[in-house]
Structures are given as structure tokens and as C-alpha cells.
């Protein structure tokens, strides 16, 4: 690292600021990070201030514009916790209600499902078994492509989960020379065929990709009609981590 004498002036100022704040022990890269942040912050403020001053039809940017720019940015990015009297008032309201009685044990004590993260974050599309007159389409009623991750599915509490039937994988069906219809959820594939549910059974088997040739493979599936009440928003592929319901 360059010695303090040969540091650029900005960096020297930053070193001094760190010293004034009582920080003596830091990695050398910290100064670079701080300078980058400073540069970014200052340019944002000055740009905002320029916008405000042109809006006010002033010829130059003056202190008021800068002040306004800072004020707006502070409310946006650097929020601070609520002031004390507000907190005291909120606390007073909340603490007035007595503690709720505890119901006898009826299962894990969790908030209503709406506030939990226990719902499935995917939905299997229900398909209609298509009877097609065009030849060459063979319906393999026991194959579907669900989320092909190796993660075990979350056992959901109280909501019907996908029933997996232990069908043997890798049925030695020779797929060459035939056309199979593969139905997969819309978010994954380009060509999608939506269908309505027909039979109440569901099968979920991982497709061995080696079986699938480079040909156009279409496999139709049968799926159970899920309780779609919770599924309306979960069509999009979401990661388990994100909160489905409450936007943060």
C-alpha cells in the first residue's frame, strides 16, 4: 500500500476522517471503499440538486438545492429508526392489551398459514389427457415434469401435498422414432400446453434426461386438481427463501 505521503489527497483526507472517528485498525482496502461510496453519494446529491435547480429555473445550483437533495435522499436511503416518543406511544398502546390466553395444544403453534412460509412455492400444472387423432403421439400416463430439483419437497402442514408414487424410473421405453408430449410449467419451457384436470391421480417421476433424445418430445400427463386456492400467486417460480405474501 502506498505510504501516507504518496497517497492522493482524497485518500489522505479519508485516513484523517477515520482517525478522527477513532478507527485505528482497518484493512487498506477500506479507504478505497469509503472513497467510492463518497464519490457515488456526492455525485448523486449534485445530480439531484441540478435537477431541482433547473426545475426552479435558477441559473446556478445553490445551497438550498443541495439541502433539498440531501433531505430527499436521507428519507429514502438513510432512514433512521422512529423517534422515541413515537415508540413510547406505540408501546403504550400495545402493552395495554392483556396477553392472550394460550389454547390447548392442537399442533405446532404457528401463525395463520397466510403468515407462515410453509406453503408450497410451486404448483404443478394440471393437464387434460388429450386424445389426439394425429398419429405418432404416444401418451405416457405416468410421466410428468415437476420441479426437477433434488431438494426434497417441504412437507406442508395441513395443505395437501403432491403425492408421489414410487413408480420405477427409467422405464425402458425406446423413445427413438416416436414423438412424446412433454408438459412442463409455463415458467420453464417455451412451448406450453395448458390443460384442464381430468383424472384425480397424480404421478411424479423424474425424467431421466438420457432417455430424451434430441427430437421433439411431448409427453402428456395426468394431474390431480390441486387446491388452487393458495396457488394463484405461486405459479411463478419462487425460491423458498423469499416471502410470498408480504412484500418486504
Amino acid at each position: 500500500m502506498a505510504s501516507p505521503k504518496t497517497l492522493p489527497k482524497d485518500a489522505q483526507v479519508m485516513v484523517q476522517i477515520l482517525k478522527d472517528m477513532g478507527i485505528t485498525d482497518y484493512e487498506p482496502r477500506v479507504i478505497n471503499q469509503m472513497l467510492e461510496f463518497t464519490y457515488r453519494y456526492v455525485t448523486t446529491i449534485i445530480e439531484d440538486a441540478k435537477i431541482y435547480s433547473t426545475h426552479a429555473k435558477k441559473s446556478t445550483v445553490d445551497a438550498d438545492d443541495i439541502r433539498l437533495a440531501i433531505q430527499c435522499r436521507v428519507d429514502q436511503s438513510f432512514t433512521s429508526p422512529p423517534p422515541r416518543d413515537f415508540l413510547l406511544e406505540v408501546a403504550r398502546q400495545k402493552n395495554m392489551t392483556p396477553l392472550p390466553l394460550i389454547k390447548p395444544y392442537t399442533g405446532p403453534r404457528l401463525p395463520p398459514d397466510r403468515y407462515c412460509l410453509t406453503a408450497p412455492n410451486y404448483r404443478l400444472k394440471s393437464l387434460q389427457k388429450k386424445v389426439s387423432s394425429s398419429g405418432g403421439r404416444i401418451t405416457v400416463p405416468r410421466l410428468s415434469v415437476g420441479p426437477v430439483s433434488s431438494r426434497p419437497s417441504t412437507p406442508t402442514l395441513g395443505t395437501p401435498s403432491v403425492q408421489t408414487v414410487g413408480t420405477k424410473v427409467g422405464t425402458p421405453v425406446s423413445l427413438t422414432g416416436q414423438r412424446f408430449t412433454v408438459q412442463i410449467p409455463s415458467s420453464q419451457a417455451a412451448s406450453v400446453k395448458t390443460a384442464t384436470p381430468t383424472t384425480p391421480t397424480v404421478q411424479n417421476v423424474l425424467i431421466n434426461p438420457s432417455l430424451i433424445g434430441s427430437k421433439n418430445i411431448l409427453i402428456t400427463t395426468n394431474m390431480v386438481s390441486q387446491n388452487s386456492s393458495s396457488d394463484s400467486s405461486s405459479l411463478k417460480r419462487k425460491h423458498e427463501d423469499e416471502d410470498d405474501y408480504d412484500a418486504s
Partner: protein, 747 residues
């Protein structure tokens, strides 16, 4: 009078201020304070000054204050408040004082803005929620409304501040030794308030000069605060800093003996410019006691917090620190118990042994809360089995003493890349959880038994539910592993806590959420949102179901696992809440904060029942003694302080660590206190002896002052170094083996 001339300007300020007013109520007090402060402040000084002629000039100024307030309320369409205020102020101006106290007496009922402000004054005085007249200093009949309405009004000319301060300094240095220590307490709060006043009124150069001249005189333990102040040179800087704003509006509490106080008062009132006296009236609360003045060491041990010391009435509330009665459980005997020592001496063979912990005293311990004071979950069968295991383990517990020190088993986290931020053990020491700065939580099995997940629903439907080992069969053998990783948080995980029944794990993180994980499926069940700022600590209650969390927003919240919003909010700290702990009887919560105080809160109604000051740095760990009577706290200043909860006093100070103390734990029977610190040591202290000493001492409960002997060296039983691993967590197993956890620090 200069105040009248300035008034129109400030009235204009009120008008400007209201235009940029937000709809939120919380900014109103500030605007209100900006506008009418100078008028009321000078009205205040008008009332206070001992010269009677000024009294005649009071009335127009008080009227102006009222008019200003009325105008403001009317402008914001708070017609109810306007009526109430007019009605009450309509009682003559002479009863202006009683109006304020009456309104304060109304307390919580009204929705009116002014009354809400005044009721807040009674809350901020941190006493029980009585609406009795606000505590008034002796000789002062000015209502406390000035606290809320006061901004920093200009007291005299800015350049003269230096003169005032040096005058006071000279005076204090000239008094008798016994009074000097007490009066020196004034320096710091006066310095800060005067400096902030100068900054607030845009006297930047004077503020800087003032700071340079007098900052060196302050006590060494205020250096961190002074550094923050040094960077604060403009009024705009003050706006974002919530801690300083709180400091400004709350009153710094000082405890001074009556003699010293009389001296001070006499000196200040006989002077022509009694600006300092005015400042004292406005911003300081002087808790006067009768008795001997305190010595410097006594004062030093109690001071250090951001709000001064605690008022004596605060620590006089009744606290139920006893333990709840253990439920009676039939302990089935098996053959191995015959070898174990039988303390009761009862015949073992024919009778099942009753739970010996609870049945000793049939009567209710007067210091223990009622069983149903707060609703607690009932015991499930699995809980009863756990309790039986607990009792069996406790019979095999090693008795610790200064001659019989515990062995320490250290779990070092390697390759954690400086990322370990939180650790917890289950009570039976079978599982270990670590929270990391890369937002993951990892759970390890400490015993050879591996961690397994529950099978998926399809597989569960296949198993035979009637079989005896159904609990084994529901576990999926294929997923057995030594550790599991839990992903989900969006920021470093700062607190982890196991539930007592080992079914759940809580983790709190910088992303502002607290997550509840299931330890049977190893997935996240709930995310509790409420703090919108980093949550520094969380803990399950000793009975499960409730948990407490504390964060950067300066409050601690009490939650229940089946409510998505908090049940209680504990507000009162001036800075972040860094540590939250439940009392063993689950009726109280202790919080340690960056404002260097420890507060004890009542779960039933959310009130603060104890304030403990004395630390000189942010508090990072708390530990209750197993009998519930004592609390130990550790902070960045390297000291462990011991507190008697029942009396509300400091009873011990353990010096020895050289760096921040991050973990404290009492042994299972409370004989040994273990502390772990960033200086890579674990120290063992003799808790029995430390607590025994108070029984014999004759302390004055009225003043709450106790002379502490520096017996840290006698109490230190052992100090154990690790090579370069700071100690993050300590845990005594049920048999009194000490487990420690920390991260290897290769630098």
C-alpha cells in the same frame, strides 16, 4: 427584553415549520418545540429567576405560548385538543402550572396531541404508570412540559458560554472535597447540552471553540460520546441522530446529596447571569438524597450511561424474582437409580419418587409470581418426559465450588472466515447452532446421534402408525448427517436460540426479520417482521412459546410463536438494544443496550421495573442466576457487573477482562459464574461468595449507595486462555461441564 423581540421571528418559524409538516405525529413535537420554545423557554426563565419584577412580565409570554400552541393545533385541525387546551388554560394563567400537571395527570386517556405529549412525559420519567403529579425538583414549580417543548433556547450570548462554563468549573474546584466529586457530575451533561445548544443555534465556530477548550476535562469513559459529538458541527447533523435527539429531550439524571445541592443552588442563584441554572432546570433531573455525599469511586461505579443514573423511585417497584413452582411429576424409577445418590433418603423401591424440586415448600414463595400471572403453555407429554430426563441428569450433577472447578470443553469453529456471529446450545447440550455473517444458520449434532429430517408426506403415509417406534420411523434415514444448513435470511445472523423442547430454532438477522425454523424438517416455518432494522438478539422463553427480540430500533419486542405481530413492545432505551434475556420465571425480560444501561421489563404490562447503570460501554451479554435473584451483565468495558434484582442495586463488580465480554453463564446451581471475552479467555468467578457478601453488608437501602470493595482478585477462580479464539458463547451442561464456543481468529 430580547425575548419579545425575537418572538415574531419565531412565530414566523412556526408558520414555515407547519408547511413542511408531515402527517406523522412524531414530528409535531419537534416543530412545536421549534416554534414556541423560545417563548416558553424564556417564560420559564422568567418564572424561575428569583427576581419578582420579572413575574409581572410573565403573563403576556405565557399567553403567547398558549396562543402559539392553539394556533398550531387549529392549523392542523386538532379541534378536540384545541377545546381541551382552551378549557383548561381558561382557568387563569396563575394556574398554568396546575394545568400542566392536571393534563399530565389525565395520563393515557385523551387522544389530544398536547395531552399525548404530556402523558409521554410521565412515561419518559420511567416510573410505574401512575398518573400522579410528575416528580418535581425541590424548589422548582415549573411543569415538566418544558421538557417536551424545549428546544435549545438561547441562554445569553454564545461567546459567553465559555465564560459560564469556566465560572462553574472554578466554583466546583473550590468547594470542599466531599462535595467536589458530586458536583463534578455536572460537567459532562452540561458540556454536552451547552455544546448542542450552540450547534443547534448555528453558532458553529463558538461551538467548536467551546468543544476544544473543555472536552479534555471530561471523564475518560465519555470519550466515545465526545468523539461522536466532535463530528456533529451543524444542526442538520443532529436530525438524523436519534440517540442524540433522545438525549436532548430526556433528562439526564444526577444524584446529589442535599448539602451539595444547596451549595450549588446558592452559588448559581446569586449570580447575575444564571444561565447555567436555567440549563440545569431544563435538561437535568437532580435526584436529591439526604445523607453523606458520595465519593468519587462510588459515583464512577454507577455513572457512565447515556441518561445519567437511574432515579431512585424507578428501582423501588416490586419485582417477583422468585421461580415458578415446578409441576409435580411422577418419576418412574429404574434400576440404575439405585446406584445414584439419593438426597432425600426416602425408600426407593416401592414408591415412585415425587419431584423433589417443587414439593419442598407447599406455600407460595412471596417473591415468586403467581403461576397464572402470565399465560404459559401447558406441559405436553413430551415435555414431561423431558423433565424426567432433566431430573435424572441433575442427580448426576457435579457440585462445583472453588475447590472443584468445572472442566471446560471448547468448540472451535474453523474456516468460518470471521463470520461466526451467534451460537446457541440446547439445554441438554445435544445440538449446537451457529449463525454466520453469510446469512446461513448451521445446526450440528454434538452427540453421536445424527440429524435427520422427517420423511416427506408421501412416505409418511406408508408407515405403520401403530408401531411402537413410530417416532423413529418418521425420520428419513437417507438424510442423516452431522450438520444441516438453513438458508433463508438476507443478512448476517446475529442471534440464535433453541426452543426448550428442541423442536424449533429462532434466528434473528440484520435483515430485520426473525425466523422460526423447524428442527424436524429443517425448513423455515415463519418469518416475524416488525423490527425494520437489524435485530441484534433473540431468545426463547424458558417454557417455550414466547420469545423476545431486541434490535437497532431501540425497542425489545415480545412475540409468541403463533402471533405474527409482537405482543409487547419494551420501549425506553436511548440506543440499540443489544442483548435480551428472559428471567427464569418468564415474567420478566432483561435488556442490555448501547446506551450502557440494563433494564428489566415486566412481561405482563410492558413496564420498565429496573434500570441499572454503571457500565461504561455497550452491553453485550446478560445472565440471570438460576435462583432468579441476581443478574450479571458484561460490556465492552471488560467489566462484569452483578445486580440484585430485588433491591435494585449493584452488588459486585468483576474486573479482569481486557476486552469486550461476549458471554456470561452461571453454573447450574449458581455457584460459579463463567465469562468469555474477546481477549481469548474464559474466566471463572466465585458467584457464591460475591452474593454472600451482601447478606452481611449494611447498606443504606434508601439511598441505594453501596460501597463496593474491589475484591475481583479474590473472586477470580481461574482464567483460561485459548490460542486465538475469542469466546462467543458459554453453556453449562446439566452435569455442570462447561462448554464454550468460539471462532478461530487466525490474525
Amino acid at each position: 427584553m430580547t425575548s419579545l423581540l425575537r418572538a415574531p421571528g419565531k412565530m414566523a418559524a412556526v408558520q414555515d415549520g407547519s408547511i413542511e409538516l408531515d402527517t406523522e405525529k412524531e414530528t409535531k413535537p419537534e416543530i412545536l418545540s421549534d416554534g414556541s420554545a423560545n417563548i416558553s423557554g424564556n417564560a420559564g426563565s422568567g418564572v424561575l429567576s428569583s427576581s419578582p419584577p420579572a413575574g409581572g412580565a410573565q403573563k403576556p409570554e405565557d399567553q403567547q405560548t398558549l396562543i402559539a400552541v392553539l394556533q398550531f393545533l387549529r392549523r392542523n385541525k386538532l379541534t378536540e385538543s384545541v377545546d381541551i387546551l382552551k378549557r383548561e388554560a381558561g382557568l387563569s394563567d396563575d394556574q398554568e402550572n396546575s394545568k400542566a400537571t392536571d393534563a399530565g395527570g389525565k395520563g393515557d386517556g385523551d387522544a389530544g396531541d398536547t395531552n399525548a405529549l404530556l402523558s409521554r412525559v410521565s412515561i419518559t420519567s420511567a416510573a410505574a404508570p401512575q398518573s400522579a403529579p410528575l416528580p418535581l425538583k425541590s424548589g422548582d414549580d415549573q411543569p415538566d412540559v418544558r421538557v417536551i417543548l424545549s428546544a435549545y433556547s438561547q441562554q445569553g450570548e454564545p461567546p459567553l458560554y465559555k465564560v459560564y462554563y469556566s465560572d462553574l468549573k472554578k466554583f466546583i474546584e473550590s468547594v470542599l472535597d466531599c462535595h467536589r466529586a458530586e458536583l463534578s457530575q455536572l460537567f459532562y451533561p452540561l458540556f454536552v447540552h451547552m455544546y448542542l445548544e450552540l450547534v443547534y443555534n448555528n453558532n458553529e465556530s463558538e461551538a467548536k471553540a467551546f468543544f476544544d477548550k473543555f472536552s479534555g476535562d471530561q471523564e475518560c469513559y465519555y470519550q466515545d460520546d465526545l468523539r461522536v459529538l466532535c463530528g456533529l458541527t451543524k444542526k442538520e447533523h443532529m436530525k438524523g441522530n436519534e440517540t442524540l435527539l433522545d438525549f436532548r429531550t430526556s433528562r439526564f439524571v444526577l444524584r446529589i446529596s442535599r448539602d451539595s445541592y444547596q451549595l450549588l443552588k446558592r452559588h448559581l442563584q446569586e449570580r447575575q447571569n444564571n444561565q447555567i441554572w436555567t440549563i440545569i432546570q431544563e435538561h437535568l433531573y437532580i435526584d436529591i438524597f439526604d445523607g453523606m455525599p458520595r465519593s468519587k469511586s462510588q459515583i464512577d461505579s454507577m455513572s457512565g450511561s447515556l441518561a445519567g443514573e437511574a432515579k431512585r423511585e424507578v428501582n423501588k417497584l416490586k419485582v417477583y424474582y422468585g421461580l415458578l413452582k415446578e409441576p409435580e411429576i411422577e418419576v418412574p424409577l429404574d434400576d440404575e437409580d439405585e446406584e445414584a445418590e439419593n438426597e432425600e433418603g426416602k425408600p426407593k423401591k416401592k414408591k415412585a419418587k415425587k419431584d423433589s424440586l417443587g414439593s419442598k415448600s407447599k406455600k407460595q414463595d412471596p417473591n415468586a409470581p403467581q403461576q397464572n400471572r402470565i399465560p404459559l403453555p401447558e406441559l405436553k407429554d413430551s415435555d414431561k418426559l423431558d423433565k424426567i430426563m432433566y431430573l435424572k441428569e441433575s442427580t448426576k450433577r457435579i457440585r462445583l465450588s472453588p475447590e472443584n472447578l468445572p472442566s471446560i470443553c471448547f468448540y472451535t469453529f474453523l474456516n468460518a472466515y470471521q463470520g461466526l456471529t451467534a451460537v446457541d446450545f440446547t439445554d441438554d447440550s445435544s445440538l449446537l447452532a451457529g449463525g454466520f455473517s453469510d446469512s446461513t444458520v448451521r445446526v450440528w449434532s454434538v452427540t453421536p446421534k445424527k440429524l435427520r429430517r422427517v420423511k416427506s408426506a408421501a412416505e409418511l403415509s406408508l408407515i405403520d402408525k401403530e408401531s411402537d417406534d413410530v417416532l423413529e420411523r418418521i425420520m428419513d434415514e437417507k438424510t442423516a448427517s452431522e450438520s444441516k444448513v438453513l438458508y433463508g435470511h438476507g443478512g448476517p445472523v446475529y442471534g440464535v436460540s433453541f426452543s426448550p423442547d428442541r423442536n424449533y430454532l429462532l434466528s434473528s438477522s440484520e435483515d430485520g426479520t426473525i425466523r422460526l425454523w423447524s428442527l424436524q424438517t429443517f425448513t423455515c416455518l415463519v418469518g416475524y417482521k416488525g423490527h425494520n432494522y437489524p435485530v441484534w438478539d433473540t431468545q426463547f422463553s424458558p417454557f417455550g412459546y414466547y420469545f423476545v427480540s431486541g434490535g437497532h430500533d431501540r425497542v425489545a419486542r415480545l412475540w409468541a410463536t403463533d402471533h405474527y405481530q409482537p405482543l409487547r413492545i419494551f420501549a425506553g432505551h436511548l440506543a440499540d438494544v443489544t442483548c435480551t434475556r428472559f428471567h427464569p420465571n418468564a415474567n420478566y425480560v432483561a435488556t442490555g443496550s448501547s446506551d450502557r444501561t440494563v433494564r428489566l421489563w415486566d412481561v405482563l404490562n410492558g413496564n420498565c421495573v429496573r434500570i441499572f447503570t454503571g457500565h461504561k460501554g455497550p452491553i453485550h451479554c446478560l445472565a440471570f442466576s438460576p435462583n432468579g435473584k441476581f443478574l450479571a451483565s458484561g460490556a465492552t468495558d471488560g467489566r462484569v457487573l452483578l445486580w440484585d434484582i430485588g433491591h435494585g442495586l449493584m452488588i459486585g463488580e468483576l474486573k479482569g477482562h481486557t476486552d469486550t465480554i461476549y458471554s456470561l453463564r452461571f453454573s447450574r446451581d449458581g455457584e460459579i459464574l463463567a465469562s468469555g471475552s474477546m481477549d481469548n479467555t474464559v474466566r471463572l468467578w466465585d458467584a457464591m461468595k460475591a452474593f454472600d457478601d451482601i447478606e452481611t453488608d449494611d447498606f443504606t437501602a434508601a439511598t441505594g449507595h453501596i460501597h463496593l470493595y474491589d475484591n475481583s482478585q479474590e473472586l477470580l477462580l481461574g482464567s483460561y486462555n485459548s490460542k486465538s479464539t475469542s469466546v462467543v458463547h458459554l453453556h453449562f451442561t446439566r452435569r455442570n461441564l462447561l462448554l464454550a464456543a468460539g471462532m478461530y481468529n487466525s490474525q
